[in-house]
């Protein structure tokens, strides 16, 4: 009798600990992006016209129950479909991928909205960390994951993207729209 009560107590304490740990994933509610079915793109204004680029390699972890979201981007995987421009963007004046090969966004707060969430937290890009808010929609697909979509606008200069003469914004706009459409699948623990 005593042992079973003790066991229950231990269990509840364990459960409390689990809830208390903000970033602990909840089994069955922890999802990761499926690379083949997920896109991460950005649109920037070059000489007054909208130009586009992608990141080919990135990973997203999302747990709506534990309210965690983390995005890791391999900056070397960027592509703007122009060899000359890619060379420039990868260099020290822009992404500087040799020194900053990774960008990271972690949601410190995940606020529920009617159709999804607003993730707010630090974005580290080119070695600079700034707090950004990223609204997104979440559409669960039965027990097999869901679709996560959204966009946010960041200012390239806040992260030092565009050094020297590239600091000017008349021919290369400061706001960059980042869009993502992710197919999330259950994480394998």
């Amino acid at each position: 009798m005593l042992t079973s009560r003790l066991a229950r107590l231990t269990l509840s304490a364990f459960a409390l600990t689990a809830v208390g740990a903000a970033h602990a994933a909840v089994p069955g509610h922890d999802y990761v992006s499926s690379p083949a079915h997920s896109t991460l793109t950005y649109t920037f204004t070059q000489a007054g016209a909208a130009n586009h680029g992608v990141f080919k390699s990135f990973s997203v972890q999302f747990d709506p129950r534990a309210k965690t979201l983390e995005v890791v981007i391999d900056m070397r995987s960027f592509d703007t479909r122009d060899a000359q421009r890619n060379t420039l963007l990868g260099g020290a004046q822009f992404f500087d991928v040799a020194r900053y090969p990774q960008a990271r966004f972690t949601a410190a707060q995940l606020q529920k909205t009617p159709r999804g969430y607003i993730a707010t937290g630090p974005l580290t890009l080119r070695g600079v960390t700034r707090t950004v808010s990223v609204p997104f929609t979440w559409r669960p697909l039965g027990g097999s994951g869901g679709e996560l979509q959204g966009k946010t606008v960041i200012e390239r200069l806040a992260f030092g993207i565009g050094q020297g003469e590239w600091h000017a914004t008349e021919w290369l706009g400061n706001p960059v729209t980042v869009r993502f459409a992710l197919r999330m699948v259950p994480a394998t623990h």
Partner: protein, 188 residues
């Protein structure tokens, strides 16, 4: 007088002529500078202005052609020999064709490169073709060849205008210039 007569070009035709002439001069300069510059903000700005002015030229040429169709065209001087009339016709047609074809090939070139054209950062033009490296390179060659052709025809056009004015001393150049007087009425 706004409209053309059989004897001289009207004010609007003159405006088109000299405005387009000035823009062509600026375009040749921007095109040459933009091509030579290394990848930089200055290059981006130079080529963006070249594209915006090119689109402006294209629009001006289309309006100019409409105005030409709605007006009498001043007759070529009577003193021209038959082969000179043919040469004048070819030169003038060539100028019209080239000043329309140059912006068009430029626009196709930008579209094929995947760099959409904006008109002075005010609005973005649609891409004329999809992204294609082969088409881009073909259009670069075509654009350059057409620009060289335009340069040669311009030399011919300007030389002929100066010959009419200073050697033959007729009205050909003066009737494209403001001022009501003609050589015939002034000289005698």
């Amino acid at each position: 007088m706004l409209r053309n007569t059989r004897a001289r070009w009207g004010a609007l035709s003159q405006l088109f002529h000299w405005l387009i002439a000035a823009l062509i001069g600026v375009q040749i300069a921007l095109g040459l500078i933009g091509t030579e510059l290394p990848l930089s903000m200055t290059k981006l700005a130079t080529l963006a202005r070249h594209k915006s002015l090119g689109i402006t030229l294209l629009a001006l040429m289309l309006v100019r052609l409409m105005w030409r169709a709605l007006n009498p065209t001043p007759a070529l001087p009577d003193t021209l020999k038959p082969h000179e009339r043919v040469l004048a016709r070819i030169t003038h047609t060539g100028l019209y064709v080239l000043v329309i074809a140059l912006p068009l090939t430029g626009w196709i070139m930008s579209s094929a490169r995947g760099f959409p054209v904006s008109w002075f950062n005010l609005f973005q033009l649609p891409n004329l073709v999809g992204r294609s490296a082969a088409l881009y390179h073909a259009m670069v060659r075509t654009h350059v060849l057409l620009a060289i052709a335009l340069g040669l025809i311009l030399v011919l056009h300007i030389a002929a205008a100066l010959k009419h004015h200073f050697v033959l001393k007729d009205d050909t150049l003066r009737r494209m210039l403001p001022g009501a007087g003609t050589a015939l009425t002034r000289k005698e």
